[in-house]
Symmetry: C2
Subunit: 145 residues, 2 copies
DNA sequence: AGCCCTGCTGCGAAAATTCGCAACAAATAG
DNA sequence: CTATTTGTTGCGAATTTTCGCAGCAGGGCT
């Protein structure tokens, strides 16, 4: 599951950036921690092996890796941000405002919608990740009761 | 432009909540400040006439009014949250990740997409507001250069 | 009127996030 | 090989956002 990060490293270097131990550690942490990892969880994870690595660096590197399209931002229901590895085939989320659950959505469901936005508004929707907020089956049912 | 808030007040009272001076002031501030108002701008605005009103209350009231579907959360490109009045006819945003500009989208463009999500995933996407992130015409063009 | 009950707020502390700056380290030029 | 440049980090402070708790206040009840 932990993708080979050497490919990513090369990509970064080719763009003129450096692959520092800190960035390596943080990227590894995100790979290991999985689906939607918070800055705090990354910090906790990384801090064990690198106690001097600061929180500020965690935030900066997460932001940086997102700009480089290696990670994607995930909006949680409470407005906080999480991150995850940007796979080659992007996927999207349905976020339940009531129970905070995440439902994964294949990229295909967005394809036609993206095309429409592109032609009608000349706006290219970010392929990497989109979050929709709403209410899942369970919460709709229990709300009705 | 500042919608008559008495209707909103009645709605709140009917649900068993109170319309306090603080809530009134904050709601008025959002109405006046317009499109995508930040907690800080609300605080600044309100603080002039009510110096004792605390920041915590601003955050709590904005959150509260969002739960009551009187306001909607707007995700900005940097991940921060803003708020705006939830009109009867919702609209959505295309947020440019490069220049932070907001483009408004009529609700109609989402209708069929919502229906599809509903039938395929039994997930009801929040009608009030959706943000899409991506890149606008101008930034696409200048990036190509 | 007086008494509960509960909702709301203010306060101050905590937690989360960002910022500025000085020091460091890697890449590059001379 | 040294000097310069530029990217990156750590630190601590500032800013933003949340939290817990004690106290106030409005609405319902008698």
């Amino acid at each position: 599951m932990p993708h080979n990060t050497t490919e990513i490293n090369q990509r970064l270097r080719k763009s003129g950036y450096r692959v520092t131990p800190q960035r390596q550690l943080i990227l590894d942490a995100v790979c290991q921690l999985g689906e939607h990892v918070t800055p705090e969880s990354v910090y906790d994870h990384v801090h064990r092996t690198a106690p001097t690595l600061s929180r500020a660096t965690v935030y900066r590197v997460l932001h940086f890796l997102t700009e480089q399209r290696i990670l994607t931002m995930v909006h949680m229901a409470d407005g906080r941000l999480a991150y995850e590895l940007a796979g080659p085939e992007p996927h999207h989320h349905l976020v339940c405002r009531t129970c905070d659950s995440l439902l994964e959505l294949p990229h295909s469901v967005l394809r036609s919608f993206r095309r429409a936005m592109d032609s009608q508004y000349d706006f290219e929707i970010d392929v990497s990740h989109v979050s929709f907020f709403g209410h899942c089956t369970d919460c709709r049912n229990s709300a009705g009761a």
